[in-house]
Symmetry: C2
Subunit: 406 residues, 2 copies
DNA sequence: AGTATATGTTCCGCGTTTAGACAAATTCCC
DNA sequence: GGGAATTTGTCTAAACGCGGAACATATACT
């Protein structure tokens, strides 16, 4: 039951019906491929004639292609199978992080076409843009990937996708930096840019198979140096007025808690970020400066988890403590948004088998309803590259999105 | 950019275009009345012929009516003005609270038709249903209000609008109670039921004039015995998987804080509810049982505010303390959802002129971005009856909602 | 070889927008 | 007072796309 905005609506035109049904057909082919025109018509509950016309339109735009004939189930003419046409077109996903920058090439369906490459991030935007352009050119030339439909870039910080600018990325030290236009100009390819937490949520929305209801109402929680979240409501990414929706990392667990990098105190992030977990292990006061001495500089959460698994009680205690705070924060997300599913990404998830009971216990402890306590929690391993997948989705998804209407 | 759910979509039929445009026309008449067919066509950017057809359809369903001829602006034929037809049809809104139950009759546009009546709430559902039915019958017979299109009921608790049941309403002591069906059966009128925080959000969404962008991305925070919130995203009420989205009242300010009625500790509600404010004034430990002795039983927040305005320093301190916690909690809402506007309702708002600087200061203190700190805050006075307006919207809004498509 | 069945195409009907013409109503101007 | 200009509202034909059914094609079973 959506309200029509009387100052910003879209009247249905003669071609709107077709536009809508075309997108539905495209999505059904995407999720059910290989599929015949007849099956498509049955799924859509339209006559075969209509499905045929929709298909021929998609064929003429080479969004799909006709593959080999399928086997007839019983008797009767064999169906011609339809597939999304992701041949000779690719998408580049770029994940810029404080330490390194990652590049991935996929086809339009998000299928990985090469290895993930990476290089050290130069925080000077001009230099970084140049290096990115050089490496992307190289990648596109090397591979048999066809033409590039677009480049998606994700950044750990506040982004204005409409203007293409990074408004504030603390870990990169960027403020009011336009990355999109110079990169697009250097390559002659359209560039989309978005916050990485939101991109992760997009990745799950567009790549999750099976239970779509859960993916269309979900929250992605990404835990690394900071805590970022992306919220998906009714199959749509929640942006908020200034595209900053999803900063759950700075909702407090205790307003009198440790100082957070954002300047406030007791943020969830200051309890569960990788730095917080490591600080807890090394016994530093969390309010102090970040540990960067010789012993701790190269020590990561993965190392900590390895020690915990090897029997280091202090390491285990640090992780368990993070697990508990993680659960308490998730409970806030559940109470406030009641998502069907929560995705969790980040290094800490490699310890999931250790911490799951603690996390779930803490969730149950603070959720208001029994339903809330049983909210699905899905772990997204780093090997799935959720941020890069999200960057790709920025480019690939619009072709499949529902048309704006009413 | 919404994703089409491949397991639950709506194909566009032959009549879908008309359905969409019909609703747009209806909404434009609603917001711009009185309006002529020609102006409607200009607003919609369609031919006058189309607008005429849409109008004649709406006329035949008596959703609108033709009023007197308007004055010609320059030369030319005088336009016939169109109006939403809210004559002889009414909606009943019911607000069930722990102490009293309120009833309001409005027309389809939400215009108040009589006085708000109320009676003491009997927590036995059978008795309450009977009394409600009796009083509503009486109200509908007394007034020259025409036939009743539906009854909207709001309850302070967890509701399943689809099943018509109240799953859990702590202050009423209800659990798994079906209120909708017995009431509908007793009156022969369809009944809609919803949580009161969500209803308040709906009320603002459907009755706010002017800046629609703000209303379509807003959060309503209702502060009384408890703290309830309703979230509106893209012009649609956010329900969540179990219709429990919006329980920001139980997001903690400090997990080690005072015990909350929900069983957890340090919930925002336990800092800013009316009881919390009063307890602070009387110096009780917030974790103790609620103050209900002779002195405090009948003392309300309004009384407290009156004392504060009269110069009672202790009263002012209690209110200021609540104001600060209120702002800190609002900051969490802003950080996590980035709404364009926050509406605040409840008794404490009568002290807004006293507490506004403190609230805004606390908001700025914890919001992550400068944008966030300047988020619009609108006070909704009790005289506007936001809960009752929301109850009415439950019935009146569907006729104006955008059709589900794609 | 004949029949049954499934797929994919084609044709016509009908609802809706699009475009334009036209009558009715009203003001302006001579 | 009368004609021109302008605006409103209706009407008709064309274009677009779904709805339904017929038809050709292709395959399996008997």
């Amino acid at each position: 039951m959506r309200k029509i905005n009387p100052h910003d609506f879209k009247v249905a035109r003669r071609g709107t019906t077709r536009e809508i049904n075309r997108q539905i057909a495209l999505n059904l082919i995407r999720t059910h491929q290989p599929i015949s025109r007849a099956d498509l018509a049955r799924l859509m509950n339209v006559r075969r004639g209509v499905a045929s016309l929709l298909v021929s339109e998609l064929l003429s735009e080479s969004l799909i292609f006709e593959g080999a004939l399928g086997e007839a189930v019983g008797r009767g003419r064999r169906p011609t199978f339809l597939y999304i046409d992701s041949r000779q077109r690719c998408v580049v996903g770029v994940d810029i992080r404080a330490s390194r920058t990652y590049i991935l090439v996929t086809d339009l369906m998000g299928k990985q076409l090469g290895v993930v490459s990476s290089f050290q991030t130069n925080k000077d935007v001009a230099v970084l843009t140049q290096e990115l352009a050089r490496r992307i050119k190289q990648t596109l030339a090397d591979k048999e990937v066809g033409s590039c439909a677009g480049i998606g870039v994700v950044v750990p910080g506040m982004v204005d996708p409409a203007l293409g600018g990074v408004l504030h990325a603390p870990t990169l030290g960027w403020r009011d930096v336009n990355l999109r236009d110079p990169l697009a100009a250097a390559l002659g390819i359209p560039v989309q840019i978005e916050n990485s937490g939101k991109a992760c949520a997009l990745a799950q929305l567009w790549t999750t198979r099976g239970d779509m209801v859960a993916a269309t109402n979900s929250v992605f929680v990404s835990i690394s140096d900071g805590v970022g979240t992306g919220i998906v409501v009714n199959g749509e990414l929640m942006r908020g007025r200034h595209n900053t929706a999803g900063e759950f990392g700075h909702v407090p667990l205790s307003i009198d808690g440790p100082r957070c990098s954002c300047g406030a105190t007791g943020c969830w992030e200051s309890y569960v970020s990788n730095l917080a977990t490591l600080s807890r292990y090394f016994g530093h006061d969390l309010a102090e400066a970040r540990p960067r001495d010789a012993e701790t500089a190269s020590f990561t959460v993965e190392d900590l988890i390895a020690r915990a698994r090897a029997g280091d009680a202090k390491a285990l205690a640090a992780i368990n403590s993070t697990a508990r705070y993680l659960g308490l924060g998730l409970a806030s997300i559940i109470n406030s948004l009641d998502p069907a599913r929560i995705y969790i990404g980040g290094e800490i998830t490699t310890a999931w088998s250790l911490i799951e009971p603690i996390v779930r216990g803490a969730v149950r402890e603070r959720t208001l309803t029994d339903f809330g306590g049983t909210t699905e929690i899905h772990i997204v391993p780093a090997e799935e590259h959720p941020r890069l997948r999200g960057a790709v989705a920025l480019v690939a998804a619009p072709a499949f999105a529902a048309p704006m209407v009413a």
